[in-house]
């Protein structure tokens, strides 16, 4: 029995818990309480929800105003309505003045957005936010980690972006596992033929690929990267150095997300080949598992990319 029905519900459960302890914690909603599974918050703390209507740019501005007066607003809605439509507000009125606003973008990726189709699936959010100084970027792998990520976001003074899905994410972490501060958790340590990095909700698939590879005699190290472009990259770099080939797997456009981050580290700190498994096109509607498989993220497809690349 899962504690949370998906990452977005886990986010809102954590915000509710924080609000019980800290009167500064608020929710700013661009008509998103239902989408964020945050109706409980509205019932319990009606005065601490600012309902802005279907208006993301205005909602981010309202959050900036609240934060400038000492409140800690959490703004959640579909990832692209925040990071694309309200990108400038996130940049100029939150990032630039380094205001204490927390964002949660849901329906991230083809898997997170699944049946909604391209208008409600977002694979560009990390690229946008990674270009905004002062932001901390959390990309939790499952609901339990999203809960922990939200608590960790509260501890940071300044803007944080948390990437979330909808409700199909597969739990990998234990409920009480901490949100790794050094940005990496190694889950498979079979060998040094390659390193596989996952971020977000494909961790179970990447681990399954590592297991498949082991059966074929290809022994890899597989890890979850939960903080992107973070300040402490030492353990990530250390792990990269275990193999000559690093593979990144993410439900994001091939530019601007995990693959870009790891490529940067490979260029600057640990020269080696980086192979990026990511989206190169827009997605489409479909059940989460089906679209993920169709766009090249089945364990078999991930494993095949690794063996083909390594010539094994």
């Amino acid at each position: 029995m899962l504690k949370y029905k998906g990452t977005r519900a886990a986010f809102s459960a954590a915000v509710l818990e924080l609000a019980e302890k800290d009167p500064r914690v608020m929710v700013v909603s661009p008509d998103a309480l239902k989408a964020m599974r945050a109706t409980d918050f509205g019932e319990k703390f009606p005065d601490r929800v600012v309902e802005c209507g279907i208006a993301e740019q205005g909602a981010v501005d309202v959050a900036a105003g609240l934060a400038a007066c000492g409140q800690i607003p959490f703004v959640g809605t579909y990832a692209g309505f925040l990071t694309l439509r309200a990108a400038e507000q996130m940049r100029t009125f939150v990032g630039y003045p380094n205001l204490n606003v927390k964002f949660c973008g849901v329906n991230a990726g083809v898997f997170g957005g699944e049946r909604e189709g391209v208008t409600h699936q977002f694979y560009e959010d990390l690229a946008v936010v990674s270009a905004l100084p002062n932001y901390t970027i959390f990309s939790p792998a499952d609901p339990e980690q999203c809960y922990m990520a939200t608590l960790a976001a509260y501890e940071i003074e300044g803007p944080v972006y948390i990437r979330a899905g909808s409700g199909r994410e597969v739990s990998v972490y234990a409920e009480d596992a901490p949100f790794a501060k050094d940005g990496i958790t190694v889950w498979r340590d079979y060998g040094t033929d390659a390193v596989l990095f996952s971020t977000g909700f494909f961790l179970d698939r990447v681990l399954a690929a590592a297991d498949l590879l082991k059966e074929k005699g290809v022994n890899v190290t597989a890890a979850d990267i939960n903080i992107l472009y973070g300040k402490d990259d030492r353990r990530i770099v250390e792990t990269m150095k275990k193999a000559d080939h690093v593979f990144t797997v993410e439900d994001h456009n091939i530019n601007g997300g995990l693959g870009s981050y790891i490529s940067r580290l490979a260029t600057e700190k640990a020269p080696r080949f980086v192979h990026r498994i990511a989206l190169k096109t827009y997605g489409e509607s479909g059940a989460a598992k089906d679209v993920a498989d169709a766009y090249g993220f089945s364990p078999e497809a991930i494993a095949k990319t690794v063996t083909d690349t390594l010539g094994k």
């Binding site: 608020m26 700013v28 005065d47 601490r48 600012v50 309902e51 802005c52 209507g53 208006a55 740019q57 205005g58 909602a59 501005d61 309202v62 959050a63 900036a64 105003g65 609240l66 934060a67 400038a68 007066c69 000492g70 409140q71 607003p73 400038e88 507000q89 100029t92 009125f93 630039y96 003045p97 380094n98």
Partner: protein, 275 residues
Amino acid sequence: MQTKELQAMANRLRLEAVRMVYEGGDGHPGPALSIADIVATLYFDAMNIDPANPAWEDRDRFILSKGHSCPILYAALNERGYYTPKVEHFHLRELGSRFQGHPSMQYTPGLDMTSGSLGNGIPIGAGMAYAGKLKGKSYFVYVICGDGELQEGVNWEGANVATGRKLDNLIVFVDKNNWQSNITVTETVGMNNPADRFRAFGWHVQEISGHDIDAIKNAIETAKGVKGKPHAIVCDCVKGKGLSFMENNNAWHKGVPTKEQYEQAVRELGGDCNA
């Protein structure tokens, strides 16, 4: 402050703004002069502020939504005593200066919000006003936006929030000078009727001259007495007001006075400065 003193202060701010642009070699003097009387009335009469304690939690807040008019705001902060010692040369828009091309709260003590990207002052002000209500504070949030700026859609997102949340502690001045960067507002969108638009959004609306200090004072008092609605004070203004060669001449939306023009500004505004 008495009306006559405020008029003199407005002109002192005007001259300081022009000097700032002249010395810095860049900036927007016309839009700054348009709002000098409103800014003077706010900072030297209406607003409950303490320059010695710019982070005072109970202070009134101010957002210059039309951030390119910042020379007049920088001048007001300086005259009001936010800086010790008083700033003599602003180094406006110069590298390393506290006084950025558009207002930045990280750089300039006394600023309540970063601004300059048009259209965002009303929704940010709504957030500040909501925080005040939530915490039981009696402060007011003042915003000045331009009439051209109202073309940005996000203004109206904020207007909805303010109406929906009954933010009667939010007072928005509209600098209605009918100019924007390119042409007039009327030519651009076929009309210039901000009062009608704010009324349609459920706001309490007043229409006054933006250069009549008494009218500005009275409008603020009237707004404070009307509960349950946010307030728009639509001000008929003249872009470049106070300088004969700048008034209603949109070439001064952005521009730098020559030495001769600066000296003329000193002559035209200087007398009032010593009133």
